[in-house]
Each structure stands twice: as C-alpha cells, then as structure tokens.
Symmetry: C2
C-alpha cells in the first residue's frame, strides 16, 4: 500500500485543514466589513506568520498579541500594527524591548491602573509619544481591567502622566460558558459605553472601543464598539462547539492520534495532554471531541494517552483518529510546527511565537 | 538598585532550586538502594539532560521515557539504557527510528496486545534479538495494559512471535487521588504478583517486575517489584503536595510571575496556563499553589493570567510570586529552558526533549 504523505507522518501531530481555515478567516472578515467593525485578530491562538498574513490580507487592520515576546516575533516579521492587550508591568528589560518594537511597528499598549500607567510612561521614554494606550475595562470577567465607572480617573492620570490615551478595551471572557454568549456581549457593550462616558467626562475621547472574543463576536454591538479582537475563530475547537459558536464542520485544526489500545467501546490514543493541552472547563463534556463523531468523548487524558469512549465499538488498533482539542490556543503552543493538509501534499508552518510568554 | 541576575530575567519563567533538586534525587536514590529496588526514573518529567545525568550519577540504572522522540534525544546524548514504557503501535517510520536507537542503546519496549507484539517484532527485524520486552499490566488505572490474569497468553504470543519477553510493568496511576496512594501500591503489587504467576505458567520468567510512580513509590512492595519508575520526584508539584507525597519545602521548580493587577485579597499574575499547564484534577484545590503560602490558591487560570486569592491582602503591583504548578511534567514541556538559581548566578538548562511527542 502506498501511503499518502500525511499518513506517513508519525503521530501525534497537529493538522490544519487549509480550506476550513480560509473559510473561517473570510467569514469573520466579511462580518467585520458588513458591520463596520475593525478586525484585529488575536495572534496568540495560532502564533503563526502564515495565518497572520492571511488575516491581514483578508482585511484585518492589525494584530492583537498577549506578550512582548509575541510582539517581537510578529514585529520582526513585518507586521507593523500591534496591540499588546495586556496590562504590562514594565521592568528595565521589558521597557528596552518595548522601545525596540516601537521603532518598527505602530504599537498600542494597555493599562488598568494609575501606577501601571506611570510606569509605562517612564519605561517608554521618548517612545511614549508614538504609542497609543487603551484603558482595560472589566466588563464582567473579573480578571484584569478597571470597573467601567472608574475608567475616567485612570485615563486622566495616564494622560496627565504623558501617555496618549486613545480608547478603551475589554475581554468578555465570561462569555465562555454555555448560554452566556449573548449576555456577555451585552455586558461588554454596556461596560464600554459606560467607560466611554467616563473618559469623555475627563476630556478624553475614546476613539478606539475594542472588544470581542470568538464566542461573543457574533453579538458584538457595532453601535458601541469600533473594533473586535477574536482569537480562536481561524481554527475553532471543542470549547467553541460546546459553547455553540461553531459546528464540527468549522474546525480547522485537529490532533491526529493512533489507537494504541482498545477494549469494547474504549480506545486509547497516543495523543495526550502534551499535544492537546489539559484544558477542561467545568462545563466541558470531556477533554476533547472527535472529528465527525458527535457521540464520542475524550473521558480521560494523561500526558501521552487520551481515553476515548465511542457510542459503538472502538476503532481497531492502529486506526488514526482526529481529536478536536478543547482549547486550541494551548494545543498550538505545544508544537514547533503545524502540518497543513494542502491539496498537493502536506506542508509545515512554524509556530513562530511558541513559548513567547514573557 | 542593582538587580540580582535572577530578578533581571523577564517573567514568567520556570525556576529550579538546585539544592532541593539534588536532595530529592538523593533521597529517592537512597530509598531504592535501601530496598534493593532498581531505580529507572521517568525522564518525561524533566526532559533535561542535566537532570538525567544527576539521576544516573546517583545510582539510577537507566531511564524511562514515553516516546520514541524522547528515546532519540536521550540516546543521542549518550544515555545507553532506555525503557520506552508505552505500547507503541509501529509504522514503517517508527520502526526505522526504533532500530536506529537500538544500535546505540540497550532498549526495553512495551507490549499490551498480541497484535502489537507481532507488529513490534516485524518492525524491529534483526534488532528484535537485542531488545527486551515487558508486558504492560493494568493494576487498576484502566488506561493501557492487560488484566493481570490475561498476561500469560500475551507474553506467550510475544515470545512465540520472536520477542525476548523479560518481565512485566505497570503504572499505578489510580494512586493520583487523595488517600489512595497506599491502596494503589497494594493493587500494584497484587497485579504484578498475579501477572508474574501467569508468565511463569506459560514458561516465561519475569526477571523485571517494574512499577512505581511518585505518589505510590514510598509504599512500593520490594518483595514483588524489582524496579521503580517515578517521574515527578526531582521537582515535585502542587499535585504531590495535595496527595501528601511531599511538602512545600520539597518543591524544586516554580513558575516566577509578576503581579500585574490587584484588588483586596486577589492578585493577577502574568503566569498563566501557557507556562503552568492547565492541569486541574477533580480533587485539586485550585490551578496551582503559592510557594511558602499554604493558604493561597490559584482560583482561575487563563493563558497569560493566574488569579490568586490570598488569605490576607494581595501583594503589591510588581511583586514577584513563585507559583507551584499542579503538574510539573506539563509545565516543563512548555518552555525551551529552565532557569536554575545556582549559588554563583542563574544558569539555563535546555528542555532537550520538549515537544518530543511522537
């Protein structure tokens, strides 16, 4: 038997369907165009230059990243409009690195405290005049960000410190719970509208009002927001399926594993938490889903084993099975390369910003 | 203020205390010596040549690994006695890679099915005569492995296929539950004793009877087992603390994060699931623990944020906090290097087998 090249790649590995990827990217770009929202995708999901390029080419205005390290990778590759959506606490080293990025890219940074804002101004030095700053608002996720009603004083103090405050942003992460997507999107627009009023009351016009996440973005309020920052949508994952924000057919990335053990309805695959990630939200139905089989569940996960329970008899030893990770961002960060199942044979895309945590 | 070198490293990063590491390695080596058990540590925990070398130098007889990729890394580095404790399903590519490792290292492999054994023999070809094979036994974890009572036929079929069957092994993973460590160790020795009888009944002497895991190893039955394979013990982690198999003072690896946001008793650190791993067993009290603070908990985790609740007031913005990952094996696999806090300044050890899943 002649193996197709993809079949000759040793499992486990992460495999991308480029047709679904392109369709997901195009669909979100079209939604942004039709609603008049700027699209600034979060690149922490894919960490991959080829995918960022596709997003920009389809109309994204720039990229969102989570860390200085990610900004360095994408900045070095020529992406010249970067938002680090994180309330950085600057040290001498991080300040130097930020100034270097600001030399080659339009940079937007985040603050959520007066102390952080002052430290940011001090760290940026002369580069501060070239950097836009957004105030992070807590719209209900209760992670970072200031309460909407407190946004005015933080923005005012930042501006007084010398920063160019141009807007507000939020991450409606509380939309990551079944049935809560629309409510989180409403909370997002309410919080951003309130924060907008607060900034205006201290004489600052929030030109940028940024929100969005993959679960909530379809309900993003274009009457309040100017920008959306979804991350997961190019790939989708099991969480998005279970949240109702995509279907199985919309999943562009799977982990390909091999059945190494089987008994009755149970198969053990060689794809464990070191390729899928160990994410399991309290509401998740398992540690991952199986492509084209809505009845199967990954019921247990160890580093190199996934226990999969099927509705019927488990596949034979040696069968390859496509597993949909619960949280694709953490899966991608586990591999050096993605295998892309292209029409004329597999190609590999480097996960360029893998491990760029700092 | 002159920064100490460790303080000048950008957070988040993984930091090793070499004194605790050496003490943990020495303690387990002494336990093995005093009980007469061979110690074959699982290198998937650290994936690091420097730590494997310390383990061998302190008396370990060889290494355990989980994948062919890990065996390649340690084999290339001169470690010449390797057990791949996984029921591999061989393909042409994996067979070639295994034969290449068998050229330079004494190799022990695992089977848990007749089909897998035959495929292993076919894949190894002439190398089969140089490779030892152990039958994996399910001692209660119900992942891979054959039931103890079924070990005889599998071992006999493997031997008849041409493999050199020299013993049995098990992973008592059901010891990963509070209060179950001793019961799992008893289940381990019962299962291995039963499988030993079964192999003898088909004319095969199980010279190697291998078990052990960090939670159960203190109760390993030296009257039945000949070898133990703990992995986590050089570092320990929050799971081991909560299982009762180590104290806070025994933890040799932490993720160093910085407080980027605070309110009352809550701090948000820049160390999220992309450096800690997302592991949270059903019985875990949180997503990680805080060094030297048994009352604090990581109550939520996203990719670049850890939400930490303290018993008292949260530390100030900019404070560095040492987080103990729940599961150190998955944390280590997220970084390219470990920062070792040595007496004469930090050094870096490469995570040589990071991402070696296949």
């Amino acid at each position: 038997m002649t193996l197709r090249p993809l079949d000759a790649i040793d499992t486990p590995f992460l495999c991308v369907d480029p047709a679904i990827l392109d369709r997901n990217i195009a669909k979100r770009a079209e939604h942004a165009r039709s609603t008049g929202l700027a699209l600034r995708p979060h690149a922490k999901t894919h960490k991959c230059l080829e995918i960022a390029r596709r997003q920009i080419d389809s109309g994204a205005t720039g990229l969102t990243v989570a860390t200085i390290g990610e900004a360095e990778v994408f900045g070095d590759a020529g992406f010249d409009d970067l938002f680090i959506a994180y309330p950085l606490w600057l040290t001498d080293s991080k300040s130097r690195r930020l100034r270097s990025i600001a030399d080659r890219a339009r940079l937007t940074l985040a603050i959520d405290s007066v102390d952080g804002a002052r430290r940011l101004f001090d760290g940026l030095g002369a580069a501060a005049s070239a950097v836009d700053v957004l105030v992070e608002i807590d719209s209900g996720h209760h992670r970072t960000g200031v309460a909407p009603a407190d946004a005015g004083p933080v923005a005012r103090a930042a501006a007084d410190a010398g920063l160019r405050v141009t807007g507000v942003f939020t991450f409606p992460g509380h939309g990551y719970s079944p049935g809560d997507r629309v409510a989180a999107a409403i909370g997002e627009s309410t919080a951003i509208a309130c924060a907008t009023d607060e900034l205006r009351s201290v004489g600052i016009e929030p030109v940028v009002r940024s929100g969005g996440s993959t679960p909530t973005v379809a309900a993003a309020d274009a009457g309040v927001l100017t920008e959306i920052r979804p991350g997961v949508y190019p790939f989708n994952d099991a969480q998005q399926i279970e949240l109702g924000s995509c279907d199985f057919d919309d999943v562009a990335l799977t982990a390909i594993g091999t059945v190494v053990h089987r008994r009755d309805r149970v198969a053990i695959l060689d794809a464990g938490s070191k390729i899928l990630g160990a994410d399991k939200a309290a509401w998740a139905t398992g540690f991952g889903r199986i492509a084209n089989d809505p009845h199967a569940r990954v019921t247990a996960l160890s580093e190199h084993h996934a226990t999969v329970e099927f509705a019927g008899s488990a596949p034979d030893l040696g069968t390859r099975v496509c597993v949909i990770p619960n949280h694709v961002c953490n899966a991608v960060n586990l591999v050096d390369e993605l295998v892309v199942d292209a029409d004329d044979g597999p190609v590999r895309w480097t996960v360029a910003a893998r491990g760029a945590n700092a």
